[in-house]
């Protein structure tokens, strides 16, 4: 009798598990490494979207649990990132990956884990132009724009400010090199001069050698295409200390709260840009993020929210949690036609999709996926004024 009872309970449990699926989203970010000051707010952004949909409880007819599982991409160590992603996919069995953050590890995970296992990846922040042309079997998307676009924007900003000669220091990896190259191409095409484009290594003890070369080359300002938690800060400090440069251009890798705290007052008049919009969606996201207790204004936090939301909405649109099925729906939910969806309206989006309607996900970062599935990219140009980072305009 007891055995029978046990068996039937077990059967009931199994049956329950089969109908109510546990949907898992891997959050693959560099919680350690050079972007560690951004990763927590990015993860919180993604989890905000996941929790929003989980709380609504209507995804795929309802009754499913949705959980986020974090993995450490380390940002720079491809081997560690691949191992962590492998664990997410094979042992945690995630249905999609929100990540990774840095371009190098994103490419590595895409080729070594996502493609062999057929898992969808939506990166909120990998911006290397190389990823636009990478083989991806239709599995890879990004809510961040390619740096080919950022290079063009940087060139426009400099031209508008009447600056014609700059030195560039970039972090020696896919992101830095990609950005420096696309910027140099755009800037020289526009008639500007790059006096020297030299790499710097992250995590170095001392940057006086790099600064010596850059100072010799000269230029009206220094473009620091690095990471704020790593060499980028070291290079900026070295330039300020030696008096080699006092005006800088800070691309997206340098933009974070730490930039304002540590450098805004010392680099008055410097400027930069990072992906961002002034849309209503962003304001709503800032509100929701602040209420959830993280800093939604940190770079790539809105993009992370959007990346996670897109994965789940694509599942709803496809009626399946299988990445091989819902990958074809990502572009559909992200782009027009359809009802525009703002942050906080994910439940409404699911309702529309469930009823067979169409949505145009706008989200926190005004998502518009172009080409091979990457954000068209609008950028926020900022400037250091009175020790604060102030918005100049959006491009």
């Amino acid at each position: 009798m007891r055995k029978l009872l046990l068996a039937s309970t077990a059967a009931a449990l199994v049956a329950g598990a089969a109908s109510a699926e546990d949907i898992k989203i891997g959050i693959m970010l560099g919680f350690t490494g050079p972007l560690e000051s951004l990763a927590p707010d990015m993860a919180a952004g993604a989890e905000l979207a996941i929790n929003e949909i989980a709380a609504a409880g209507t995804l795929l007819g309802g009754g499913h649990t949705i959980t986020a599982i974090r993995g450490d991409s380390t940002c720079i160590d491809a081997a560690a990132a691949v191992a962590a992603a492998e664990r997410l996919v094979t042992s945690d069995k995630v249905n999609g990956i929100m990540g990774a953050d840095c371009s190098g590890v994103t490419g590595a995970i895409l080729q070594n884990v996502a493609r062999p296992n057929g898992v969808v990846m939506i990166s909120p922040s990998a911006t290397s132009p190389g990823l636009s042309t990478a083989e991806d079997d239709g599995l890879f998307f990004r809510t961040a724009p390619s740096d080919a676009r950022q290079g063009q924007v940087m060139s426009d900003i400099l031209k508008d400010r009447g600056i014609s000669s700059v030195a560039v220091s970039y972090t020696n990896n896919d992101y830095g090199k990609g950005l420096a190259d696309s910027f140099q191409a755009a800037f020289t095409a526009a008639g500007g001069t790059v006096t020297l484009s030299a790499p710097h290594e992250d995590g170095k003890a001392d940057y006086s050698a790099e600064m010596g070369a850059l100072a010799s080359a000269g230029g009206e300002l220094l473009v620091v295409a690095g990471y704020i938690d790593q060499g980028g800060a070291g290079i900026t400090n070295a330039a300020l200390d030696s008096g080699a440069f006092d005006t800088f251009m800070f691309p997206d890798g340098m933009f974070s709260q730490a930039l304002e705290d540590n450098f805004a007052a010392k680099t008055e008049g410097s400027f930069g840009q990072h992906p961002g919009t002034d849309s209503d969606g962003l304001a709503k996201f800032h509100e929701a993020g602040a209420a959830a207790g993280f800093n939604p204004k940190n770079a790539f936090s809105p993009e992370s929210y959007d990346a996670a939301a897109l994965i789940l909405l694509a599942m709803q649109a496809a009626g399946s949690t299988d990445p091989k099925v819902y990958k074809d729906k990502v572009l559909d939910v992200a782009n027009a036609p359809g009802e525009p969806i703002q942050p906080g309206e994910l439940a409404k989006a699911i309702e529309i999709l469930a009823a067979g309607g169409d949505i145009d996900y706008v989200g926190a970062s005004a998502v518009e996926l172009i080409g091979p599935g990457e954000s068209a990219g609008s950028y926020r140009e900022f400037e250091m004024k009175g020790g604060k980072i102030e918005t100049v305009r959006f491009r």
Binding site: T32, E36, S37, N172, L196, A198, P199, H200, E201, G203, K204, A205, D206, S208, A209, E210, M211, G212, A213, A215, S216, A217, G218, D229, A233, G234, N237, A238, D241, S242, G243, A244, A258, N262
Partner: protein, 336 residues
């Protein structure tokens, strides 16, 4: 005038930063070389001992600042230094008691101790990050510059600026004082002499009644003091981040080996050699030559011997050359 301008550029971008960086490396290499000379193993945990010491100094500095104590134009961290040294000494002594002593007793081969020290390194690194976090911390207060580039230009009317930071001067002065004290201690005190004896010949030292445990303990305390001083100076000069000290390990070891492991004088020479070679070989001489040469000979290119990408390659090349032709290092240390 042009010659002075050339000299100022050289001083600003090569000499002053090289000197400060060299002093920091030298202090670090001294610690490594002492452990190698007396305890006979390469201490990989040295970088993270520096990080721990700096962390302690930052915490004490914050406490002092909260109490309203400051050191005028000098950074408060200098007052905190003795407390930080005490904390670090306590940590390394506890580590020695708990871990290294066992391996000394069983007379483990040096390579085993090296691996053990790597384990210690990971634990210390994690401990530091656990206590103070991974964020970048700037704890230098007081005056940042003795003379800033812009002031220098206005003062002298030269076209080129020279910036000298307070921390650079403090680094060099403190390093000189620390090295002076260390040499006096090793050369003139009874304990110092017993340390040297122990380093030269352990068995003979034991026979003549030198207490090994005491020698080891004193060594660790000195190493803690050197590591903390080097770490705090480096943190003041640049900024503190738990991870960067681990990266410092490489140039520090290069400095110690080039100078000759076990030789304190060699560690200092090695520190400056590595620092200056990193800066000079990769320096673009365009500006300097532009001042020195007549206008029509002025170079158009950067006149850079090697791109800065190869900065580390420079220290490694020196390391390889020294090991090939003089394996005991420049100052006849122990062979590796």
């Amino acid at each position: 005038m042009d010659i002075i301008n050339a000299l100022v550029v050289f001083a600003n971008f090569v000499f002053v930063p090289g000197l400060a960086y060299g002093a920091q490396l030298a202090l670090g290499a001294l610690g490594v070389t002492l452990v190698y000379g007396i305890l006979r193993f390469s201490n990989f945990a040295h970088g993270d001992t520096m990080a721990f010491g700096t962390m302690a100094a930052i915490l004490v500095t914050r406490g002092l600042q909260a109490m309203g104590i400051s050191f005028g134009p000098l950074p408060t961290a200098l007052i905190a230094l003795p407390f930080a040294i005490a904390a670090t000494a306590a940590l390394v002594l506890a580590t020695d008691r708990g871990i290294y002593r066992f391996y000394r007793k069983v007379r483990a081969a040096p390579v085993i101790l090296v691996i053990v020290s790597m384990g210690v390194m990971f634990v210390m690194n994690a401990l530091t990050r656990f206590i103070i976090g991974v964020d970048e911390i700037n704890f230098a207060d007081g005056g940042r510059f003795i003379i800033a580039a812009r002031e220098f230009k206005e003062l002298t009317g030269l076209a080129e600026g020279l910036a000298i930071r307070t921390t650079q001067v403090i680094t060099v002065v403190t390093a000189a004082v620390a090295v002076g004290l260390l040499f006096w201690f090793l050369g003139n005190t009874r304990t110092g002499k017993s340390m040297r004896a122990y380093s030269d010949n352990e068995d003979l030292a034991l026979l003549s009644g030198i207490n090994p445990e005491r020698v080891v303990a004193v060594t660790w305390i000195i190493v803690a003091a050197l590591a903390t001083t080097a770490g705090v100076l480096y943190g003041l000069d640049k900024s503190f981040k738990a991870f960067t000290y681990f990266q410092l390990l490489l140039p520090i070891f290069a400095a110690a080996i080039v100078g000759g492991l076990g030789s304190p004088l060699g560690a200092i020479a090695g520190g400056f050699l590595i620092a200056f070679s990193e800066v000079t070989v990769t320096y673009a001489w365009k500006r300097v030559l532009g001042y020195l040469l007549p206008a029509d000979l002025a170079p158009e290119g950067l006149v850079q011997l090697m791109s800065t990408d190869y900065k580390f390659a420079v220290s490694f090349a020196i390391l390889v050359i020294v090991l090939l032709f003089r394996p005991t290092g420049l100052f006849r240390g122990k062979s590796v």
